[in-house]
């Protein structure tokens, strides 16, 4: 960030700044005032101290200049003064290229990731922040990560969940056992194979992150399948743009009922963010209820749904590995779709424990640890 500010000028209701390397940037006046960093406008903790309705209705920039390397503004009618550092301006530029490059990009993967699984040893991760940050970097990029040598004690999945973030309690409790049971209320608790899916799309909010901890794994079969749902969605977008669009637009109803719960939510199979990037996948054939859509869109939607399901089943998409006792996988539930091959419970035991954590807790921990290591790219408090 050695580039320096050269000049500033007022052009209508925007401020234009020029840099020594010849670049220019434009910032709307109202945006600058609302983002004023001065102690009267922002509490030391970063919270804004005024409301939008507190600002003068006839607000305007009276004077714009470069002082001590900062952009300094004097406002009419209240003579308020705002200053912005060069690095803050660069970090918050509103040009479309800058905005695009600021977005974290997922790294797509497929079956070949088997040779470089994002993995860390649980004890090493706890002992060394650099190990944890490295693992979290991979988790953020791939949407999942593996931990090895997590003690095979019941309840450890909750300990790991509360280390990384905050465990979410639901009608399943704070953790759930994935094991064959006599009268299952959910197919997950049987021995049948399960195609890849996201968990509990019938919840609002959908669980953001799932942890599965393997306590026992002697039964033949029961391999874990993982598919990068974001990658699959991008393939669909390329191969069938109209179908992709339908899956992002029409909501599907999801539902789960038992004696104690009646959970319903609607979500599109593919949810985009404001820039059109894939943000969430909701895919679960077991709990999908009815598509509640205009009649003429139903058959085209189903054609796209089948195409997307076909892509998810392509052998090159499927990352297959067997969780051994002590392995724990942490998955972004709306990206890293998971399933399992069938197993024979008469020939051995298979016992996993799972829990959910919210997305914000683990993301916050990742940022705080990066800050501690001086790795944060964030320039602005």
């Amino acid at each position: 960030m050695s580039i320096e500010l050269l000049s500033a000028s007022i052009v209508g209701d925007v401020v234009q700044i020029a840099w020594q390397d010849g670049r220019t940037m434009v910032f709307p006046a109202i945006w600058l005032r609302d983002n004023c960093r001065c102690p009267a406008c922002r509490h030391a903790n970063g919270q804004r101290l005024f409301e939008i309705t507190d600002l003068p209705r006839d607000l305007a920039v009276k004077q714009a200049a470069i002082q001590d390397g900062h952009l300094q503004l004097v406002w009419a009618p209240d003579d308020h003064i705002s200053a912005f550092t060069a690095s803050w301006l660069v970090a918050h530029e509103l040009g479309s290229d800058s905005r695009a490059t600021r977005r974290e990009q997922p790294v797509f993967w497929d079956r070949s990731l088997i040779d470089r699984l994002p993995v860390a040893d649980w004890s090493a991760l706890r002992a060394d922040t650099a190990v944890e940050v490295g693992w979290l970097d991979q988790y953020a990029a791939y949407g999942f990560g593996l931990l090895r040598n997590v003690p095979t004690e019941p309840g450890m999945v909750e300990v790991v969940g509360n280390h990384l973030g905050f465990v979410r309690v639901t009608n399943y409790g704070s953790l759930f056992d994935v094991i064959s049971v006599p009268k299952p209320n959910n197919l997950a608790f049987t021995a049948v194979g399960l195609g890849v899916h996201s968990d509990n799309p019938y919840r609002e909010p959908t669980p953001g992150v799932q942890l599965l901890h393997c306590l026992e794994s002697d039964a033949p079969g029961g391999d874990t399948l993982l598919v990068d749902g974001f990658h699959a969605a991008e393939i669909l977008r390329r191969e069938d743009p109209a179908g992709f669009k339908l899956l992002t637009q029409l909501p599907l109803n999801f539902r789960f009922r038992d004696a104690k719960a009646d959970l319903q939510a609607e979500a599109p199979l593919i949810k985009l963010d404001f820039d059109g990037a894939v943000k969430e996948i909701h895919f679960n054939n077991r709990s999908a209820d009815t598509l509640n859509a205009p009649v003429d869109l139903v058959a085209p939607w189903y054609a796209a749904y089948r195409k997307f399901a076909d892509i998810l089943k392509r052998p090159e998409m499927e990352l297959i590995f067997k969780l051994g006792a002590g392995d724990l996988v942490v998955m972004m539930n709306e990206r890293a779709l998971h399933g399992r091959t069938a197993f024979d419970p008469s020939l051995g035991r298979r016992h996993l424990q799972g829990c959910y954590i919210d997305k914000d807790g683990i993301e916050s921990r990742h940022r705080v640890l990066r800050r501690q290591l001086g790795l944060s790219k964030d320039l602005a408090a």
Copy 2:
């Protein structure tokens, strides 16, 4: 539901049914097959037993008829048989009118609701399911509800939260105290007035439901303000359609930082569902960070933001009441925006405890209790 099915016919890839009252309905074949209710297709718990890729690619309806009052279909090429009851078909019709009337409609409110606050006694609610369902009906319609005579013991807010749903633990803990503290990490923990807002839009997911329990309330001031954010959004939609649209489209960054947390999320101020109905409001001047939008949309967005803030401040929109000791308010955080007037901590004490619960838990409880009372309109397991 005394109307009876008259006839069924296959028209291309849809099934058309006629009712004795002259109405007709159309259902796409693939949709009907995917929703087949037979025991081979659905587990007793309602979960689907097949994947979309398991269905024949050349699927077609071979035969459609009314039998014993049901729609019965025979499929090619696999001779599978599906049956649908009349009530199920009515409940899931895909015509736009039917789809619209199935949606739960919020009941908008304003200052005048003071005369008929949605309120229940905590002991009465626990003792009588009908009281609880009546209160939950009002909570669902208005987006908030009051409970009276909740024992003024610290931690009771968590007890109530776990009665209604499941408490969400965050970096604030499972509950938080709203009380003047010496070195606050958040302006909520001071004595200043707070304009109406939604809590923690910097989280992903945003807290769905907030509970605030008043333990002490002797300080002058500190009245509670509630504004129906959905109502305000509809007013904006009517008065400034273009501005409304901008607020639904552009995401705003929200952020909270302290020594232990760094929370960031983006959300539009007004979020719509797939049918264009207002679904969520994210409004918090303190934690709003930068608007990350194309330059030319920034000034128009700010104009709309100010208009929306103006509407939220209209006196007729503000429901104002003072929480007394033992009162507890349960609010849909993304609808019933809350604030408070300033108070003077030197003249008395004001102590609230709050917690968050997820939306799905309380909604599920509402459905299950309605089912228990035989009030459920849901016809289809």
